[in-house]
Symmetry: C2
Subunit: 239 residues, 2 copies
């Protein structure tokens, strides 16, 4: 019943914030159940959940659907200016990366895609839908569109590997420049489902367009990241 300086959910938030920062709770540790926490602090489950959701927004904890709340591991650092593949930068940071191809189809280009790739509407594009994980935790959903005319037989390659490396090795293609767009937004329902997390959680949406040296678009990439899984690092030279 205390109406002290602080709201109760913020006090509970600070409690766990402290435990995690001090290392009393470590990455991957499971928190007590919401009901247990409620009993321990004489709080309603709703209040407990508000505290947990605030910690989740901080990126300090995450939930596995109906399994419980867990302390978040450190974030992956993603540096587009290094032109490294996911496997390269995840491994070099001590994570064990994994890629799954969820779907792989040829789809006709709509008006927008036709514009981007400078092809006529209806031309078939390779659509690659992948899920990438580190240490067994899914953190990223990719939707990649590639113009197969530029890369004959690419659809018969093993597409769970690094596209960067695949293109270099088999087709001699080399990325020349890319446009990136970052937006913090809730994960779309489908991406959240693919990641196994509830709809509406904050996420990071990245759109990437890769160009060949001659300016032709090689690859269009929509990425949906867990908001707490990644830090973007970029080094810019100018001006």
């Amino acid at each position: 019943m205390q109406k002290a300086n602080e709201n109760q959910y913020l006090q509970l938030h600070q409690h766990y914030h402290y435990l995690i920062q001090q290392g009393a709770l470590k990455a991957g540790d499971k928190l007590p159940s919401e009901r247990e926490i409620g009993e321990q602090f004489s709080l309603t489950r709703i209040t407990v959940r508000q505290a947990l959701q605030t910690l989740e927004a901080d990126g300090l904890i995450y939930r596995m659907n109906r399994k419980g709340w867990f302390v978040s591991p450190p974030t992956l650092s993603y540096n587009p200016s290094k032109w490294q593949s996911f496997v390269e930068y995840a491994s070099s940071q001590g994570f064990t990366p994994n890629t799954e191809v969820l779907n792989q189809t040829l789809v006709p280009a709509d008006t927008n895609m036709a514009n981007v790739f400078q092809i006529s509407k209806g031309t078939l594009l390779l659509h690659l839908h992948r899920r990438r994980s580190v240490d067994g935790r899914p953190i990223l959903i990719e939707h990649i569109y590639i113009n197969p005319c530029l890369l004959p037989n690419i659809e018969h390659e093993e597409l769970s590997q690094s596209l960067t490396q695949l293109l270099r090795r088999n087709y001699g293609e080399t990325y020349h420049s890319m446009d990136l767009s970052f937006k913090s937004t809730a994960l779309p329902t489908t991406a959240a489902a693919d990641l196994g997390i509830p709809t509406g959680l904050p996420g990071l949406h990245i759109q990437r367009t890769n160009y060949r040296p001659d300016g032709v678009v090689l690859e269009l990439d929509y990425e949906y990241w867990r908001h707490d899984a990644v830090t973007i690092e970029i080094n810019m030279k100018g001006e």
Copy 2:
């Protein structure tokens, strides 16, 4: 009482999502009060709030403290690779930008700052705490640290203006390169308070380090953005 295909809060979410996308609700429009919405759809306030918070996570609506919920305006596009000032890129996108200096002090460098600026611990740094708005809506809190030894008398300048332009005009300094780091995280309590929004909302944290041509650090900048106010755009050349 319907336990149909969809949760009730997701149905309500879709309802407003549709209204906003169709333009029936426009940027800046106020939504009905939580209690009114609850009556209209026979839902509890908690369920209504869950739907509203999901729309907020999408960036479609935002709240003004105890005033109500409003439809979000379009995002500001921030392109660090263009080396433009806030005023330049906000104006060119049709927004009316504004900058307020919340605080301006000389602070002794701690160990970390001393390392970054390659000065001895305790040397005085200029700390600039600013709030930036577009069309009257605060969207960004800045904490800037500058080594005043490199820029004599800078503390007597009008510091609500663009630092980029100020440095160019008065000191001949020109940025040469910068390191950027982006992280999606909840806004710290103080930043949320400065922005007039509740603690714990998702936000975008940007850390920027600006270097002189000789590699000396000119400026260290911590930025906290509303998550729904900005899209980061970057063009990279390589490799």
